[in-house]
């Protein structure tokens, strides 16, 4: 449980830190997203109910900071990020046995792909509201860039979180025993 609360704290800290990290001009102004990587790690490390709780918490935070109410209209429904995190973390949770066997590379790659999927889903939702669907090279980079960054930082973050898990004496669930 200590590890779960630690993850909640880290998600909050990462969400606030993201507000102070500028977009990368050399990567078509792509933004850096750290929160999804932490959530997806949690999805692998935590049991199903806690995984859902973490996805809910991260989704609520993301919605609160991104959803815009302009002229009395909501552009993206509150809850859409919760749904996105829930579904994607659920898929990641399904790959938990592989993680328990010590195979991290699939999860690192998936963390990047899923981060890009979140940005893509947001883009599709605003495009649906605003009309005129456009996919330029810049847009693809702004969708793919955060995924590439997430993929690059995932091994370091996973290692750090694994270390924190060990420090807090977190037991990684029954799958570990089943596959080792």
């Amino acid at each position: 449980m200590i590890f779960f609360f630690l993850l909640l704290l880290l998600v909050l800290a990462a969400q606030i830190a993201e507000l102070f990290i500028p977009a990368l001009p050399w990567l078509y102004s792509a933004h850096v997203y750290i929160v999804p990587v932490i959530v997806f790690y949690g999805a692998m490390a935590l049991p199903f109910p806690l995984m859902l709780a973490l996805a809910l918490y991260a989704g609520v935070l993301l919605d609160a900071l991104t959803v815009q109410v302009i002229g009395g209209k909501v552009e993206i429904s509150t809850g859409s990020s919760i749904l996105l995190y829930g579904v994607l973390a659920g898929i990641m949770h399904g790959l938990r046995p592989l993680f328990a066997r010590g195979r991290w590379e699939v999860h690192c790659i998936l963390s990047g792909i899923f981060t890009s999927l979140i940005v893509l889903a947001q883009y599709l939702m605003i495009t649906f509201r605003r009309g005129s669907i456009v996919f330029t090279r810049e847009i693809w980079w702004q969708i793919g860039g955060p995924g590439l960054i997430a993929m690059a930082v995932a091994p370091i973050l996973f290692w750090l979180l694994q270390w924190m898990g060990r420090m807090t004496a977190y037991a990684y669930g029954p799958e570990r025993g089943r596959f080792e």
Binding site: I16, H31, V60, A64, T78, I139
Partner: protein
């Protein structure tokens, strides 16, 4: 699937359904509440970022320092020569700067604010400022600098507010063009890649024939933005099938904002 997991999934679904049922008012309250909770972190984080930035800009390599040293020696000789003449001017400049202080000379009632955070999301262009309900800030109030229009307030909590920048596609501003009878709607572009985003001025007549450099001001139509605020200058003009469209360079450098003013009314 175990019973615990099913119960957890049902609870998750119920909470998700509750959030999805939020209307604009509930969403606004929810956002305000979360920003209220995050306000202490955002304001202290802003201070921390400034300290880190000042330290990192102070660190330079040995080559850079040598190069800088020789350049500074040359500059120093030049400056000594001009310094004497500038001493007298300094006093006058200070006096004029004070006299021209934007807040004093503005026709609007203004509240000064500092930017504490920038939006981390890809598709919305917003900044967070350190003024809120407690300072008399309300939704849809215009935000400006001495150079021109910055955007409008979209979310408020007690201590902080969110400003939707003029460079966001959703920020639509009724505008008029200097030296012509042309009126149109200014909005940002969905995706910007450079550090300086451009604005679009739509719904002009095909015959508008705007020239680069012509200034564009808020027209006051719609009631959100007061008239007479400089939005930007025309960069290019093109005729489309049904109307004319101009691209504008914003009057304000929206990517390097530090301090802004919120317009609370006219004097």
């Amino acid at each position: 699937m175990s019973r615990t997991n099913i119960i957890a999934l049902l609870i998750f679904g119920a909470i998700l359904g509750y959030f999805l049922s939020f209307g604009p008012d509930m969403t606004q309250k929810f956002k305000s509440g979360v920003y209220q909770l995050l306000a202490p972190f955002l304001t202290s984080g802003s201070g921390l970022k400034k300290q880190i930035t000042s330290v990192s800009t102070g660190l330079k390599s040995l080559d850079q320092l040598e190069h800088q040293n020789s350049a500074l020696q040359v500059e120093n000789r030049e400056l000594r020569a001009t310094n004497q003449g500038l001493r007298d001017v300094e006093h006058e400049v200070n006096r004029l700067r004070h006299a021209l202080n934007y807040r004093e000379r503005s026709v609007f009632k203004l509240i000064a604010a500092e930017i504490v955070a920038r939006d981390s999301s890809t598709w919305w262009r917003t900044v967070t400022i350190n003024r809120g309900k407690r300072d008399g800030i309300e939704i849809d109030m215009s935000v400006v600098t001495a150079e021109g229009l910055v955007g409008k307030i979209t979310t408020i909590s007690n201590n902080i507010s969110v400003v939707l920048l003029a460079s966001d596609e959703n920020c639509r501003v009724a505008a008029s063009v200097e030296g012509s009878r042309e009126q149109g709607i200014v909005s940002g572009e969905r995706v910007t890649t450079g550090l300086s985003p451009l604005l679009d001025l739509n719904f002009l007549t095909k015959q508008a024939g705007l020239k680069p450099g012509q200034k564009v001001y808020t027209s006051g139509v719609g009631g959100v933005f007061p008239s007479g605020l400089l939005i930007g200058a025309v960069k290019t003009f093109r005729v489309r099938e049904l109307d004319g469209q101009a691209q504008l360079t914003p009057a304000v450098d929206l990517s390097h904002l530090e301090d802004v003013f919120i317009v609370t009314g006219r004097r």
